[in-house]
Every structure is written in structure tokens, then in C-alpha cells.
Amino acid sequence: MITSGVGARYDVELRLPADGAYAAVLRTLTAGLAARLDFTMDDIEDLRIAVSETAAMVLDEADEGADLVCRFRLEPGELQLDCSTTSAAPTKPDYDNFGWQVLTTLTTDASVEATPGHYAVRIALRSTLDTQ
């Protein structure tokens, strides 16, 4: 558990080529971080799926040769991920989308930001232990 100081907050950043081949790296890193935050095994499995969906959504919008910028914010019992890319003309988020349904079910919070030149999906997950 991350215990240095009450309410300690840590940030982790990862920049990857916006290419599906790197999605596994993001998944692995996320699982590793969640394990250190004392998420349960079930939470971590959910997180893997949620991160896959997030990455899939962002990759769809990425410009040619763009980067995937992943910013994690780690708080006790909570993990937030802001996954963004450069996107000249991002499509409007479709909240009826199957992937989006999956994402909102698995996360405690999920949002999309689509502005010209920028596309980001943000998700937050709380550990089951923390909400009990």
C-alpha cells in the first residue's frame, strides 16, 4: 500500500505511440499500480477491461503518428487515468456505444473530452475495500 503520509497522492505518466500494440503495456502498468493501491483482484480485472476500452476509444481518434499520453493519479483506494491524444477532428462522443456502456459499468467515473486537436477519456476507479 502507498502509505507515505495520510492522503498521499502520487502521479505517474506514460507516453506511448498511439498504436494498439502498446495497449498491453498500459494494461500491465495499470494492474501494477492498482496492486500497490490495494485494489482487490476483481477490481484489477475490471480495471484491465476498463483500460482496454479506454485505450480503444482514444486510439480510434488519434492522428497519424500521434502519441498516447496516459496520466495516472493515485490516491489511497482510488486510481484515476487520463488517457489523451492529439486528434485534428475528433468525433462526438457516443454515449450509446457498447464500449462506453462497459466503461461506465466498470468504473466509478468516466468522461470524454473531445475538442478540435484533443481527445481524452478519463476514468476513475475506487477500490472495493475503500467503498465498503
Partner: protein, 266 residues
């Protein structure tokens, strides 16, 4: 004679018969004067005689993701080895001698052949410890354990658990052109790869998801519904359906990938 002994007398009579048959067959099998065909017939009969022992051993490993028939098959190799090596002079029961060999063979199968990708033995053993500790802790805690709790139970570090979790994803990999288990053959992984996702955003998904859900195999559909509509955790689903949580996780991931792929085809 005690009460239990009376109750068991029927069973022990059968055991006694098996024992006598066993001795008779071994006598032929080991007889230097017996013909080659007599000896090989005795060997075959011995294997058949003790096949129930193999099934008994294989049953203990049934819930580990490998087909029961496959386990019986590898266990039988252990049985054949035991028949060939058993020393009747030793004075131990054949079953006492054969059981460790049969179980050893089944375990080796899990260790060496069960893995789709070669994973170092240390990690394979760690994975088994993790899945054992996970189900045990899920029972005692009444919820899914954290990696730290598993690490404490096994006596290793959280880092090692994370490593083990990663390696567990290599236990069952899918062939790229493998379809699902149903006979009519759904879309394969290959169909899900290298396709343009752009149209996905524009599809009126809610309408198209329905027929896709209907086309899923019953178990996959149930898992999906339990997870996303009843909001059950993977462990709860595992308990409800009677498979391991790892298995639920794999099925769920695969189903979602299939749905994504199918959506894109329409």
C-alpha cells in the same frame, strides 16, 4: 467386527477381488516363461483393472481448466509406467505405488504442456499458489482478496504477485483463427484484428447489440448479463456458474472482444 467394518464389507470384498486379480495378472506379466502375447495381454488387463484409479486422481484436478478426458489420458500414462515398474516383492499395494506416479504425470502435464506459452517453472508454481490462495481468501474474507493479502498468505512480495498475475494470462492463449467453443463457429480473433474501427462510433449500437447478445453461447451470455446488468463481481459470477474467477475473466475478455469485432462487421 465393528459396525463400520460390516458396512464396508461389501466394498472390501470387491477390493479383495481386485487385489487377487491384480496378483494373478502381475504373476503372468512377470513370468519369464510366459509368452510375449500372454504377458502383453496381462499388461493390458492390468491397465484396465486400475483405470478407475486414474479417473479418481484426474477428478481432483478437474477444475483447473483442462478437459477431464485429457487428464485421464495423461494419468493413464502414469498408470502404464507404474505397471511396468511395480515390484510385487516390495509388499506394498499397487494403488499405493501407482497413485503418486499418476498424480505426478497429471501435474507434469499442467506444468509443461498445459501452458500455451513457455513460462519459467518458478512462475508456473507461483501462479498455482496465487490461484489457490485467491480462492481460499475469497472464502474466508467473503470478497476478492488484494494482491497484498495474497502475498502475505503465500509469503512473498507484492511484486512477485504482480509478476504471477501477468504470467497467468499466458496460461491459456487463443489461436488467432480459433473460434468459440460452439459448433457453428463464431467470429475468430483474427476477425477482430486489423479492422478499421472508425465506423464503430457511428453505429446505433443499442439496436445492434441485441442480436449479438442473442448469438452468444448461453454461458458467455449469462456471464455478460451477470457482470453488466446484475453488477456482480467476477468472483461472484465464478461461484454462481461454478468455474474459476480466472476463467470468468478470460471468457469475459473474449466475449467483449468478439462483440466489438461483430459490431464492427455490421
Amino acid at each position: 467386527m465393528t459396525k463400520e467394518a460390516t458396512q464396508d464389507s461389501g466394498r472390501s470384498a470387491a477390493l479383495e477381488q481386485t487385489r487377487r486379480e491384480n496378483l494373478r495378472l502381475f504373476a503372468i506379466f512377470r513370468d519369464p516363461d510366459a509368452s510375449e502375447s500372454e504377458r502383453s495381454a496381462a499388461r493390458e488387463d492390468l491397465v484396465h483393472l486400475h483405470l478407475a484409479l486414474v479417473e479418481h486422481c484426474a477428478r481432483r484436478f478437474r477444475n483447473r481448466g483442462e478437459p477431464f478426458e485429457d487428464l485421464v489420458q495423461v494419468g493413464t500414462i502414469g498408470l502404464i509406467k507404474s505397471v511396468d515398474r511395480f515390484d510385487t516383492e516390495r509388499g506394498v499395494e499397487f494403488s499405493t505405488y501407482a497413485t503418486p506416479t499418476i498424480i505426478g504425470e497429471i501435474k507434469r502435464y499442467f506444468r509443461d504442456k498445459g501452458w500455451a506459452i513457455r513460462v519459467p517453472r518458478r512462475l508456473q508454481e507461483l501462479r498455482m499458489q496465487i490461484s489457490g490462495a485467491t480462492s481460499e481468501l475469497t472464502q474466508t474474507l467473503g470478497r476478492s482478496p488484494t494482491p497484498r493479502e495474497i502475498a502475505d498468505a503465500i509469503g512473498c512480495s507484492v511484486e512477485e504477485i504482480i509478476e504471477g498475475m501477468e504470467s497467468s494470462n499466458a496460461y491459456a492463449t487463443l489461436s488467432l483463427d480459433a473460434t468459440d467453443d460452439s459448433d457453428d463457429g463464431g467470429p475468430s480473433m483474427l476477425d477482430a484484428i486489423g479492422i478499421d474501427d472508425e465506423a464503430l462510433e457511428h453505429v446505433e449500437i443499442r439496436e445492434s447489440v441485441k442480436p449479438l447478445l442473442e448469438s452468444l453461447p448461453p454461458r458467455e451470455k449469462k456471464i455478460l448479463l451477470l457482470r453488466f446488468f446484475k453488477n456482480m463481481t467476477q468472483s461472484e459470477i465464478a461461484a454462481e456458474i461454478g468455474v474459476s474467477q480466472m476463467h470468468v475473466s478470460r471468457l469475459l475478455t473474449r466475449t467483449l472482444e468478439q462483440l466489438r469485432a461483430s459490431l464492427d462487421h455490421d
